[in-house]
Structure formats: structure tokens, C-alpha cells
Amino acid sequence: MFIVTHKQRLNMTFADREEYIKLREEVRKFNLRELAPVSSECDEKEVFPFDVLKKASELGYVGPHLPERYGGMGDYYAKAVVYEENCRVSFGYNLSLNASDLLFANNISKHGTEEQKQRYLPPVIKGEKIGCWALTEPDAGSDALSIRTTWRKDGNHYIINGRKTFITNAPIADFFIVIARKPGSIKTDGGCAFILERGMQGLYTGKPFKKLGGRCSPTGEIILDDVKVTRDQLLGEEGNGFKDMFSSLDVERAYTPLSSIGIAQACIDAVVAYSKQRRQFGRYISEFQLIQEKLAVMSAELEVARNYVYNLIELMVHGKRITKEASIAKLFASDMVNKATREAIQIMGGYGYMREYNVERYFRDAKLLEIGAGTSEIQKLIIAKELLK
């Protein structure tokens, strides 16, 4: 199996720079050695590979985008390389890692006080603690601002009540960011983000949900029953919760489509190898035009998506507004990877449908990319809104 696939590409993005080519090789080697051997089993048993996370953190693969003084490298491109390579082996592993070091930790890094950063960032970067970020509720999915989790003031304290669902890492998290609103407030007013810790009175997490894909990444509910915290646990300014959330959203949205790139690359790795060794009708199936057509389309769509997504990351790093571009990338890349996983199974036929071959897992994992972090339908609405305004 080759290590680097796009070394020969002529156009230059960050991914073509010597340092990131080298990083990619290292991450790939690490993932093949540590993550690949356990990824099927973790999917089957629905458990997160904590050991791999710990080892990855020792090499700097957890939170590389976070500031150096808390243990990161302050390098958003390195995060992109690690993100994509992780998804090429285990999407579920990256899903949990990302909820911890990006959704949780990046929000702390961006909106937190110095005390909050010192308390929460180092243990996450060291892989000792797991974070999560909680917005979605049973009745607030695509319509995210309709959340009903509330906060109210009680002297110097805040009291939080409500219920969150489909929260990545909730069953295993040590730290939580929870978004709540002031009763009676509307739209983006009245929001607060709170940093909560496991063990706080009134905070409970439910059993992990059983899911189609992303199964080594535990997803669950958070129940908040009169959770009482001091001002130290407020992230950002009171009432600014939604505005802060939107301001850091671009970073998260820029990375999301890399999941599709990683999984689609894994599909190509698998089917190129398979079609060169599988014989039917007296020939290798790679010699049939029907198979070649599938490989060619998979590769064409992947490379187009890859270039667009790398470009998107550069725009994000340079602080450009990427509302429309991030939606285009997510829409296109998640559609691309769902086609790729479908075709990968199809090329492998009965074998593709069996658990012992990884494409079966890639197929189940890819479906989440059309749902999580804004469904494809919502991305289309965002693109149209940007076009029409």
C-alpha cells in the first residue's frame, strides 16, 4: 500500500509543502500501525480506542492547531493533515477526537479566560481528558436556535436545565460545553455557553445510542437538572453564546469535509488493490471497462473535492469569510464520498457487503456526513441564501 497519493500533484496548496508531506507520511505510518489493527473491532464492539488517542497525543496529533503554550503546535494545517489521515483509517475515531480537540477545545481557546485555558486545554491535548460540545436537542436539529435548554441567574450562580441529544462523546466526556438560552429570549439573543465537568451535581449522561456508523465514537444524551455553576464556568460573555458559536463555526465547518476526503481515499485504496487481484471471466476485474469507469469517476470526484477542500482550509486560516464555500465543500464532498463508498462495495460485490472487509464500515460511516454538522439540505439552503442576498 502506498503512503502518499498526491505527491505528484502540480498545483500547490499547504498539502504539497515538504513539512506537511512529511507529517502525512508519519501520521499514515502511525495510523496503520496503531489504529488500523483495532478499527474494525472498535466498530464491532462500539468502543472508543483510548490507547490510540494517548499514543497519538504523545506524537502531537491531538490538538495540533491549539496554541503552543498549552501543548499544541498552533498549526491549523497540521490539524487538517491529521484529520484527513485519521478518517482514511477510522472515521469514528476522528469523530470523537475532533469533538474533543476542536469542538470543545477550540471554543475554549477562542472564547475562554486564561484560567479556563490552563485548566482545560493541556489535559485534552495530552489525551488524558475528553471534551464534547452540546447544542442539539430532541426538538432542535436543523432548526438549531430553537433549543429549550435554559439558564437563569441565582445570585452569583447560574442554574442550567434541559436535555441535549446526539452529542458526540457525551457518554465518555470529562468536560462539556453546553449551549443554553435565557427563558423568553429569541433568535441569537440570550445565549450562554457553559463549561461543565463530569461529576457536577445534576449532570447526567445517558447510555450510548446504537448507530448505523461512526460506531466507535460514543454518542449520547446529556440531562441537566438544576446544574448550578459559578461565573468561572461561563464561556465568553453572558448573552453572547450564540454569537460566539457562529464566530467559531467557520473553523469547524472548514475541517468537516476532510472526513469525506479521507474515507473516499480509503475506498480508492481498497478497490484499486481488490480489482487488481480479483479474477472473474478469466481476467482481472480491473480489465473491465465497467470497473475502470467506476474507478475513474471515483478518482475524478475525489480530486476535485480534495482541491476545493484544501483551498477552503487555506481561506479559513487566512481568516476569510467562508459561509458559502464551506457549505459547497460539505455538500459536494459528502455526496462524493457516499457515491464512492457505494461503488466500492459494488466493485467488491458480496465481499464488499461482508464485515471483514473495511468498505462495509466506510459505507455506514459516510452516511453521517450527509446529516451531521448540517444536513445536505441545510447546506443547500445556506448556499442559496448567500446567492440570493
Binding site: G141, Q280, I345, Q346, G349, E360, R364, G372, T375, S376
Partner: protein, 381 residues
């Protein structure tokens, strides 16, 4: 309902609808968790005569024509796919070789047992090296005194761990292969030298019990021969021809169930202050799904009816299988999407149906093989 379906079968379909709603749907989660159909439910299936719908009346079955059978199967597919799988093998690939090519003695011996469900059957053609290219099988049968010795391995064989009788397709002449070198046998479960290997772990189809079947100097007597020596490829292919329509019927049944779940959820789920059914994007999903199902259903009825009239349906059965299974897969994807995050969770049954339906584009001939067969019919002559 199609007016060409007999009065009697229409009444039976109403019974099946009630059976699916009252007995099967409540058992779905249990089947998914255990990979096994509860005995009580299996007994009810037997009482309803579901294992012998296609088997002639003279041998204890109902002797249904293909059209009627497809519409019973369609209703029965609106629940856990294991229920469809276990009965459809006895009605199709597990018995059709016997019905069409068996000797009177073989039919009398096995068909009543298959029709009652006392015997479960399996059809063993596929091998690790022989999928779409079925004529490249390597499992051999060698003639010896008063019988045959079978050697080789089959895999992806549905029902294998619980089957009492296997239709096994073997190679008897390496030179001739599909042109007279392939032979079918009826092999009983307790034949010496037959063993069950690994049970495959699959994405979906919990309860199909797909497994490897291993033959090591497996002895079968002369009267286990099905049809003539060298006639096995034809037996396998005609058996599969009919199987394409039953795959289409099941896919349409699953699609119809999904659509009704989608309609129900869209009316119930509110976002942005109104039921999502009021959004055009959701309406399009439902409209596309209903349109595809209508087209597939008409293709099925027409093709099955043509078959019953004795017409050659090779091209139409490929088209129907291709269109129905590809459409059902798209519908499963749309309905999962319509459910959003909830659709990704196991507690909505869409998640299971999405995994199950994926196999339909592979088994009974992949979509790609169907296209080749359609093209071959178009281009010949």
C-alpha cells in the same frame, strides 16, 4: 391491487398484511438483536403455508403463479428481512430446481417437507472465486461406484447453518464448464463430508445466516443427481431468472414501507415552526420515491404476468430487478435523510432497512450484471 391477481390471493394478501402488522413488526427488534426468528413466529409462518406458496399443490404447496407469489412476497417484505429470506429460499432458489428438473421420486421425497417448512433449503452456487462469473466454480463432483464424491467450498450461502437440504452446483467436466460440464446435486445436511464453515458477518440481513459450506469427499448416491449430468448451469440460471423478480418484489415492499414511514414522520416532526412535510425539499423526496415505486410496481406486475403466460422474460426480469433495487436503495437513503440524526440511530427502523436494502443491488446478480444482460439481449441478432 393488480386486477390480474386472483381473488383467492387477494384475500390471502389481506391476511398477510395483518400478520405483518400484528406478529412480525412487533418482533423486528428481537430478530435484529438475536439474529433469529422466534419459534412462535416461525410456526405461524408454517401454519400460513408461507414455505410452499410456489410449490405445486400435488406436493403439498399452494401452487401459486409467479404474479400472485410476488405480491404476497411484497407484503411480507414490509418487515424484518430475515422473515422474507427464510421463506423465499424454499419458494425459490431452494425448490425451483427440484420442481422443474427433479424426478418424481425426488419431488415426493422433498417437496412436501419444503412446502410445510419442516425442511429449510439452501442453494449453493457462489464460491470465493466465482461470484458474478458463476461458470468459474471449482467445487467438483467425481463419479465413483454407486455415487459421487463432492469436493470444494461454497460461501455466502443463505440459510446454510439451518438448512436440511442443499441444491449444490458442481463442476463435472473442467473442459466443458458452462457448456455441459456443470451438474447439480441435492445434498442432505447429514451427508458425510458436508460441514458448515464460518458464518459471515454482514452489514445487514441479520438472520439470513449466510455461511460457508465445505465439502470434503462428500459422498452422495446416484439418486441425488438433479436433472442430467452436464445440465447444472442451465438449472442454476433458470432458477436465478425467477429469483430476480422476487428480489424486485421484496425491494418494492421495503420501499413502500419506507415511504409510509417517511410520510408519517414528515407530518409529525416540526422544525422552524412547522411540520417538515410543509417544506418543498421534503415533498420532493416523497414525490420522487412514490413515482419510482409506482413504476417499479408496474414493471413487476407486467413481467411476472408475462412469465406466467410462458413468455421469455430474460431482459424484462433484469430490467425490473435493476430498477426496483436501485430505486429502493435511493428511497432508503432519502427516508433516512428525511429522519435526520434520528434516522442514523438504531431506534428508528430506517437504519436497519438501509443496511438490508444495500444487499439487493448485489445478490441475484449485481446491477452491473443486469445491465450486461440487458445489453446482450439488445445487441444480439
Amino acid at each position: 391491487m393488480d386486477e390480474r391477481i386472483t381473488e383467492e390471493t387477494r384475500g390471502f394478501i389481506e391476511i398477510i398484511k395483518r400478520f405483518v402488522n400484528n406478529d412480525c413488526i412487533p418482533a423486528e427488534d428481537k430478530i435484529e438483536d438475536t439474529g433469529k426468528i422466534p419459534d412462535e413466529l416461525l410456526n405461524k409462518m408454517k401454519e400460513l403455508g408461507l414455505f410452499g406458496l410456489r410449490i405445486p399443490r400435488d406436493y403439498g404447496g399452494s401452487g401459486m403463479n409467479l404474479l400472485d407469489y410476488c405480491y404476497v412476497l411484497k407484503e411480507l417484505s414490509k418487515t424484518h428481512d430475515a422473515i422474507r429470506a427464510i421463506m423465499s429460499v424454499n419458494n425459490g432458489i431452494g425448490s425451483m430446481g427440484l420442481v422443474n428438473y427433479g424426478t418424481e421420486e425426488q419431488k415426493k421425497r422433498y417437496l412436501p417437507l419444503l412446502a410445510s417448512g419442516e425442511y429449510i433449503s439452501a442453494f449453493a452456487l457462489t464460491e470465493p472465486g466465482a461470484g458474478s462469473d458463476a461458470s468459474s466454480i471449482t467445487t467438483t463432483a467425481t463419479k465413483i461406484n454407486n455415487g459421487w464424491l463432492i469436493n470444494g467450498m461454497k460461501h455466502f450461502i443463505t440459510n446454510a447453518p439451518i438448512a436440511n437440504i442443499f441444491t449444490v452446483i458442481t463442476l463435472t467436466d473442467k473442459e466443458k464448464r458452462a457448456k455441459g460440464g456443470i451438474t447439480a446435486f441435492l445434498v442432505e445436511r447429514n451427508a458425510k463430508g458436508l460441514s458448515i464453515g464460518n458464518i459471515h458477518k454482514t452489514m445487514g440481513g441479520k438472520g439470513w445466516l449466510q455461511a460457508e459450506v465445505i465439502f470434503e469427499d462428500c459422498f452422495v448416491p446416484d439418486n441425488a443427481l438433479l436433472g442430467q449430468v452436464g445440465n447444472g448451469f442451465k438449472i442454476a440460471m433458470t432458477t436465478l431468472n425467477e429469483g430476480r423478480l422476487s428480489a424486485a418484489a421484496s425491494a418494492i415492499g421495503i420501499g413502500e414501507r419506507l415511504l409510509s414511514m417517511g410520510v408519517e414522520y414528515a407530518k409529525l416532526r416540526k422544525q422552524f415552526g412547522k411540520p417538515i412535510a410543509e417544506f418543498e425539499a421534503i415533498q420532493w423526496m416523497l414525490a420522487d420515491s412514490a413515482t419510482e415505486l409506482y413504476a417499479a410496481d408496474r414493471m413487476l406486475a407486467h413481467t411476472a404476468y408475462s412469465f406466467d403466460k410462458g413468455e421469455d422474460i430474460r431482459m424484462q426480469s433484469s430490467m425490473t430487478k435493476l430498477f426496483a433495487t436501485e430505486s429502493a436503495f435511493k428511497i432508503a437513503d432519502r427516508i433516512l435523510q428525511l429522519h435526520g440524526g434520528m434516522g442514523f440511530m438504531k431506534e428508528t427502523k430506517v437504519e436497519r432497512m438501509f443496511r438490508d436494502i444495500r444487499a439487493y443491488r448485489i445478490f441475484e446478480g449485481t446491477s452491473e450484471i443486469q445491465k450486461l444482460m440487458i445489453a446482450r439481449e439488445l445487441l444480439k441478432g
